[in-house]
Amino acid sequence: MTGIAITVEACGKTFADGTRALSPISFEIGAGESIAILGPSGCGKTTALRIIAGLEGPDPGGRVLFDGADVTPLPIERRNVGMVFQSYALFPNMSVIENVAYGLRVRGVPRQPRLGQAQEVLAMMRLAEFGGRRIDQLSGGQRQRVALARALAVKPRVLLLDEPLTALDAALREDLRAEIDGLLRTLRISSVYVTHDQAEAMVLGDRIIVMERGAIAQIGTPRDIYFRPASRFVASFVGTMNRLEGAIRGGVFETRAGRLPVDRADAAEAVAFFRPEAARLTPADGAPLRFRVARCHFLGAAQRVYLDAGEGAPALIADTDNRRTWQPGQETGLAVSASDLLFL
């Protein structure tokens, strides 16, 4: 299975009822690349995926290209894509192996060879013994693997997944996430994985498209998105972000809690963002920023300290080592390297 390159060109979507689900968006997916589309519920992820799949047509002017060929007018059944739905969409009237073989059946593959091929795919998904079962005799995780097997059995040109793990419980979700990751890397198939879960997006996406209200907020590798978010929205949606308000005067960022040297032009109002792991707690004396500890959550491997940032401001979060103990009300210093401060 080799993947194809996909080009989405100015695809907007306005539904019949007037809902503007997508402003025209454009992006490219390289051959064999795994793309994750990440964003909060209702931001247009599913709509974007359905336009690539051919389940939904873009507004006039939008185009979808597979390996350079315009597939915009083709319905999904003529695009040769594999699709995995959040609700699995397995056929209850067919056994597991019949489900997996269905794509081959409609392609006219005779019964014996198609059952043989389906069995191979089932074996690849560690479902070899389940071929004869009815769908309602499977657990949620098994159903999702059958849905994947069914989509892969037709050797699609691209695999499209719409929040495939959302219906599963947390532990299972993590197992399947790793399994899908392994699968995508072995098959080297192009894929688009829609999710609202940032961990899934980071594990499964070579690149992540972050969406906000029907538009693309940022496209980049997981590291780009995490370390160099393009907007406040991306910064706060991906991972945890601390926010510190103040002003910049003469190369110094002045806040209520103290002063930090920064390499930036003067600004009467500035907002700095930094990650909890970039925050270092220091002795209070002589520290550039000083806070009182609001509370401390011991998490085993790490420890999350909440700092009181004053009236009306959200607490600042510092992730520290798990040995020291912190008392509420205790005074502490806070240091952040200038390179870890983002002004957005």
Binding site: A16, A53, L55, P75, I76, E77, R78, N80, V81, G82, M83, F85, S87, Y88, A89, L90, F91, P92, N93, Y102, G103, R105, V106, R107, I135, D136, L138, S139, G140, G141, R143, R150, A151, V154, A167, L168, D169
Partner: protein
């Protein structure tokens, strides 16, 4: 659980028995009259006979066969119209579809007599059509169609047919393959329930049919009314007996079927795993 005293329980059982008897005894008496040689002497003195049943059969066998014929044709017609209609309404849930659904359901609220009158006013002039059994068939189809459409639509909504169809489409199935391989087999419970319901309604339908029939197109219920009006009580009762024998197995079938549907309904049908849904 609170314990009820034996007295209250005995009382409850007694009342239940009386009420049941109140309803069932007339049915039994009426049916018994059909096999009684002389009703006025009673079954014990005059003895039992199947002569009346035989006589009804020679007089009215035609109505039984016509009723069956119309019922089967009504089922066929509602299947051909109702199943695709339900499918289309489910697939395109627009405001227009909602209106169509309402219009299809309208005949339920309109008295059968009014439907019949409308048909007579409109098509009464087409002599051959008006005189044929197809005229009654049209009335029955109008009257029973909503039951078929509703029954199939309910099942389609329950199995999330749209997503199933999209799943099939993503695997390369053409619209016709999707309908034949995925929609029809999974809608089967609704189709069967609808067909049984339509069959039962058609066989028992009187209002409409009475208005639409001609002396040559009498159905079983119309013949029954006829015999009540003009024949000996024993004949009418024997006729009821025949009607009963036809309709009861259908009703029982319907009940058993509904029960089995309830059981499959309790299992999860959408493909969502039950264990993750539970809190």
């Amino acid at each position: 659980m609170q314990r009820t005293s034996p007295l209250i329980r005995a009382l409850g059982a007694g009342v239940t028995f009386l009420v049941s008897a109140f309803m069932i005894v007339p049915v039994i008496l009426s049916l018994a009259a059909g096999v009684t040689a002389n009703y006025f002497q009673g079954i014990w003195r005059s003895g039992a006979t199947i002569d009346w049943v035989a006589e009804v059969w020679t007089l009215y066998a035609g109505t039984v066969f016509l009723s069956l014929q119309i019922a089967l044709a009504t089922v066929a017609a509602t299947l051909l119209i109702g199943v695709p209609a339900a499918y289309v309404l489910n697939r395109h849930p627009s405001r227009g579809a909602r209106a169509v659904e309402e219009i299809i359901t309208l005949p339920l609220a309109i008295p059968g007599l009014a439907i019949a009158l409308a048909l007579l006013v409109t098509y009464g002039g087409f002599g051959d059509f008006r005189k044929s059994w197809a005229f009654i068939l049209v009335g029955h189809v109008l009257y029973t169609l909503p039951f078929m459409v509703r029954s199939v639509m309910a099942v389609l909504a329950g199995i999330d047919a749209r997503t199933l169809e999209e799943g099939a489409a993503s695997l390369g199935a053409t619209p016709w393959q999707r309908f034949a391989h995925v929609i029809l087999p999974n809608a089967r419970p609704g189709i069967l329930a609808g067909a049984l319901m339509v069959m039962t309604l058609s066989i028992g339908e009187f209002n409409l049919t009475w208005m639409l029939h001609t002396p040559l197109t009498k159905t079983l219920p119309v013949g029954l009314a006829d015999s009540y009006a003009s024949m000996r009580l024993e004949i009418a009762s024997a006729y009821t007996l025949i009607f009963f024998i036809m309709i009861v197995p259908l009703l029982i079938g319907l009940q058993l079927f509904a029960a089995s549907l309830d059981q499959t309904g309790a299992r999860n049908r959408t493909g969502q795993p039950a264990e993750e849904i539970r809190p």
